[in-house]
């Protein structure tokens, strides 16, 4: 038996400003959804759980991650209850539930808290820069060192425990019986979904271009990470590495620029609602790639020594990205969604 909890929907509304209470349970959203199946149907069920405040059922569900937000349900909804955006809201909420630190909750719910956090990180970077007397050599070296440390620590301290929590809530707590072999067998699905998001192509809406853009951003972002961190782009002598860095960073900031434009234009269902976390994500991804590109241009033009502020700007953005958006922000959807596909596969294989 589940108890109705009206506080839940009030709380949920802090994660996005739509009124899903408008829903009158016609089920059109589920009927039009190309990803919803008889065994695993959504989004109406999730709308219903949200209205009734059945948070335990939502926390143990993978369904919010199975939706790729094509927006067709929201377009079809006769009551403008925006089921598509609700699924997005639930993903935000789930991110905060998986996060053991509780910091995501604070950042998602409060724009003020987010701005303060971003400012604190910036101040921290400036203080470090001050102690290094804004020495170019020392800062570039430290920046590279920071990148490696932050990747390792964010993954080990925040993301890995959070994925284990997600597994705990969705597999263990739901008493799904999964044998060990299935974990190994399904691992390929995890990798494929993580790097391709191919399931989103099953959405009926015309979205191949959007998928391609998203795909290129993921690949571009990962390559940029690899090139800057492991191939040390800013210090490289190799022409191939140098030009690869230019290409992938340009690719990332050009496409993210298009994403930002879409969110401003609001001409597609998926862009109608933008939560601060969405803005932070696309803008910082753009700024990161763009500032990396500019830094490398300054290095190649031998201007960096006299313009260390360019690097300072880049490293501030990078620090904010690595310390806030990656562990506690929208970046995590990259992991959770692919793990959700993986866990779903495991549950289905019972």
């Amino acid at each position: 038996m589940s108890k109705v909890n009206t506080n839940f929907s009030t709380d949920l509304k802090k994660y996005g400003s739509i009124n899903f209470n408008e829903c009158y349970n016609c089920g059109n959203c589920t009927a039009v959804c190309s990803l919803s199946t008889e065994e695993s149907s959504f989004p109406r069920e999730m709308v219903r759980y949200s209205i009734l405040g059945l948070d335990k059922d939502i926390k143990s569900s993978l369904k919010p991650w199975l939706c790729y937000y094509c927006g067709e349900c929201s377009e079809t909804c006769p009551r403008v209850a925006n089921p598509g955006e609700l699924m997005m809201i639930l993903r935000r909420w789930l991110i905060t539930k998986y996060d053991w630190t509780g910091l995501s909750g604070v950042l998602f719910k409060s724009l003020t808290a987010s701005i303060v956090a971003f400012a604190l990180v910036a101040i921290l970077v400036i203080i470090v820069g001050f102690f290094k007397q804004f020495n170019t050599e020392a800062l570039l070296h430290l920046g590279h060192y920071f990148e490696m440390i932050s990747i390792a620590s964010v993954f080990l301290i925040i993301l890995l425990p959070n994925i284990i929590r997600m597994w705990w809530f969705t597999i263990i707590k739901t008493k799904a019986k999964v044998n060990f072999l299935s974990y190994l067998k399904a691992i390929w699905d995890l990798i494929v979904h993580m790097f391709t998001q191919k399931r989103s192509l099953e959405c009926e809406e015309e979205n191949t271009f959007r998928w391609l853009e998203h795909f290129l951003i993921v690949i571009g972002y990962l390559l940029l990470l690899f090139i800057t961190v492991f191939l040390d782009w800013f210090a490289t002598e190799s022409k191939i590495v140098l030009w690869s860095g230019y290409i992938v960073s340009a690719l990332v900031f050009i496409i993210t620029f298009d994403f930002v434009l879409d969110r401003i234009k609001k001409n597609k269902e998926i862009n109608k609602f933008s939560h601060p976390s969405d803005w932070f994500f696309v803008i910082w991804l753009f700024l990161m790639a763009f500032s990396a590109f500019v830094v490398r241009v300054f290095i190649d033009a031998h201007l960096i020594d006299n313009n260390i502020w360019v690097y300072m700007v880049h490293i501030i953005i990078l620090a904010q990205w690595a310390m806030l958006i990656v562990p506690f922000g929208k970046w995590t959807h990259f992991l959770y969604r692919s793990f959700a596909m993986y866990f779903d596969k495991l549950k289905m294989s019972q």
């Binding site: 209470n21 408008e22 069920e45 009734l52 009551r79």
Partner: protein
């Protein structure tokens, strides 16, 4: 005996002629005795065919007419008109039904259908030969209407009737006008209050010279019939001097207030559905009409304390009986709310379970905070369809107004008080028409709707100090959902008035649901089988106030159009007693469903006599008469017997 009869066999397009050989029917009938003309026609009801028949009647001086076509239900009056226009008495026309009874019924057997058609036409021919020319009876009628019940329906109707020129006696059993509507505050969908509507109607009623309003008055008996009812009224005293008026006399008003304060008798206040108590001298709310308080005769002990403080109180007033003569009666007696049984969803067992009607009064009694039994209410659960759409009980009907009323109330409550959560446990929301907007508004504001099937209703239980309701919510895939509520509101529907004695006095029939029944829901929606007795508002079926107004205006116009000429035309086809043969055995009076037979003196003996205005010509009295002393005009023995002979020939 008619000797020059015209017979027309209709093709009805192909409806009849596809299966019945109409030419053969015509040829055989043409050879019958007394048939002057026999013809077939494509559509007897068509204008051209009607004109041809009229021409034939006039040219050949026909004295009888038979048309073999569809059911008389469809075209009896059409063809009677044809006869009349040709100068033939309409009762010398007989219709043979060879469509519904022949071609449609026997489409598998055209030969047999043709045989049957021939027999039916022969029977009609036999009847028309013995038919008599009859004239409508005309009786004088008084253009006065008795409207029973001064709620919204009664007052609205009285005003309309008075506007149209009828005199109106408007009687109200209680001492205040407004009925149920005065008990409700804000009303959907305009948010006007019940008091506002009632006071507007009341002032209009007072302004009209044509309306006489009787308070504390009910019907005790009725004699007479349409056009000339004689109704006996009983008036219960108000025990207040009728010359005393409250308006502009604050001194008198203060004295009355003192009388109320001093009254030692406290009884349950039905106006607030038992939520509060009142004195034996009472007034339900400040602007209630008529403005003087009333003393409730049933509960007053006549201690005399009030008389001592207020000289306008007259405890020696007596019941009065008067008889009035009216042409028509309109019933606007309204409804009672369904009273849940003890234990039905915890009613009368769990202290925070109340009905929607009580809840609406509770809201009026709580200006700032919603308090019930000393507890502030935040979470309200509404359980729908209580006493309506019952699976096991008798009330199979939907009460229509309750979904909208509950939702409107939920919106109102959320608006009026802080931190309210509404839970609607329903069986499918029916906010039809314009009311749908309220449903939308309510869910937009965060009201939660849960739905169950009729066979697994929600269960209300007490869990320590909290009341919780468990429902298998079909909107959540039948998941068992628990709702904790500070107050459970049972959305109770309408039932017929518990005291419906007026129906028995006037012999108005009840429908399946025990509300008063109309003749036909679409064609005669406010008429009853008792001529001159009309029904409107919630005494007929569950209706909201808008629908009540519509039905009451419809009944008003029917009553006025019946009486306005001062004369009523009645069908001549009624029973007739052969007084010489009758020996008064009383069997016919027992058989008559309309009270249309009286006992009179005839040549020194007691005999039965038909009250023409009451007789409907149903024929129930005929077969019970041991002397065969009753005949039905238009269906005389000779007519029926010759028809039978023709059929079995």
């Amino acid at each position: 005996m008619k000797k020059k009869i015209g017979v027309y066999i209709c093709h009805c397009g192909n409806n009849i002629s596809d299966y019945v050989d109409v030419e053969k029917v015509k040829d055989i009938i043409a050879a019958e005795d007394g048939v002057a003309i026999a013809k077939t026609t494509m559509f007897a009801c068509a204008d051209s065919a009607q004109n041809e028949i009229i021409q034939d009647i006039q040219d050949n001086n026909l004295d009888g007419l038979v048309i073999a076509s569809c059911s008389p239900k469809l075209h009896l009056f059409t063809f009677r008109n044809v006869a009349e226009r040709a100068g033939l008495n309409p009762y010398n026309y007989v219709q043979a039904n060879i469509r519904e009874q022949t071609s449609w019924a026997h489409s598998d057997n055209p030969k047999g259908a043709t045989e049957k058609a021939i027999q039916l036409v022969k029977a009609a021919l036999a009847k028309v030969k013995h038919s008599e020319a009859l004239a409508l009876q005309k009786i004088p009628a008084v253009n006065t209407v008795l409207v029973i019940g001064a709620g919204v329906a009664g007052m609205r109707s009285a005003i309309e009737l008075a506007d149209m020129g009828s005199k109106v006696h408007l009687i109200e059993r209680t001492h205040f006008v407004g009925g149920r509507t005065s008990q409700w505050s804000k009303l959907f969908t305009t948010s006007e209050t019940g008091e506002e509507i009632v006071s507007r109607l009341y002032y209009s009623v007072l302004e009209h010279d044509n309306i006489t309003l009787y308070m504390g008055t009910e019907v005790v008996s009725n004699s007479g019939s349409v056009g000339n009812f004689e109704v006996e009224l009983k008036k219960t005293p108000r025990y207040i001097d009728p010359d005393c008026k409250i308006e502009d006399d604050t001194e008198f008003e203060n004295k009355l207030q003192k009388a109320i304060d001093i009254c030692p008798v406290e009884v349950i206040d039905e106006f607030n559905f038992g939520l509060t108590k009142r004195k034996a001298i009472y007034k339900n709310f400040k602007s209630e009409f008529p403005e003087c308080p009333a003393i409730d005769a049933a509960n007053c002990t006549k201690c005399g304390d009030c008389e001592k403080v207020c000289d306008g109180i007259k405890l020696d007033q007596k019941e009065e009986y008067t008889t009035i003569k009216v042409g028509a009666i309109q019933l606007c007696t309204g409804f009672d709310p369904y009273e849940p049984k003890d234990g039905e969803f915890g009613y009368n067992e769990i202290d925070n379970v109340i009905t929607l009607q009580q809840f609406k009064r509770l809201i009026e009694l709580c200006p700032d905070k919603l308090i019930h039994k000393d507890k502030e209410i935040r979470n309200i659960a509404y359980i729908y369809c209580v006493g309506s759409r019952q699976v096991d009980g008798d009330n199979k009907y939907c009460s229509r107004y309750c979904c909208t009323s509950a939702i409107f109330t939920a919106i109102h409550v959320k608006d009026k008080y802080k931190n309210i959560n509404n839970f609607h446990l329903n069986r499918g929301i029916r906010t039809y028409g314009k009311q749908e907007i309220l449903y939308h508004q309510s869910s937009s504001q965060g009201d939660i709707y849960l739905q169950s099937f009729a066979d697994s209703p929600p269960v209300v239980g007490k869990n320590g100090n909290t009341t919780s309701i468990i429902i298998n919510d079909i909107l959540t895939a039948d998941k068992e959902i628990e709702v904790e509520a500070d107050l459970v509101v049972l959305v109770t529907g309408m039932i017929p008035r518990k005291d419906n004695s007026i129906g028995n006095i006037l012999k108005v029939p009840y429908g399946r649901d025990n509300f008063f029944n109309e003749i036909h829901p679409k064609l005669k929606p406010v008429e009853t089988v008792i001529d001159g007795v009309f029904i409107s508002g919630a005494c007929q079926a569950p209706l909201n106030i808008t629908e009540t107004s519509k039905s009451t205006l419809s009944a008003a116009s029917k009553a006025n159009s019946l009486l306005k000429s001062g004369e009523i035309e009645l069908e001549p086809t009624i029973a007739q007693v052969k007084s010489d043969i009758c020996n008064w055995c009383d069997k016919c009076t027992l058989a008559c469903p309309y009270d249309a037979i009286s006992k009179i003196e005839h040549k020194g003996k007691q005999v039965a006599a038909i009250i023409e205005a009451k007789c409907k010509g149903c024929g129930m009295c005929l077969p019970v008469c041991p002397e065969n002393a009753i005949d039905l005009i238009g269906f005389s023995d000779v007519e029926i017997e010759t028809m039978i002979e023709a059929l079995i020939e």
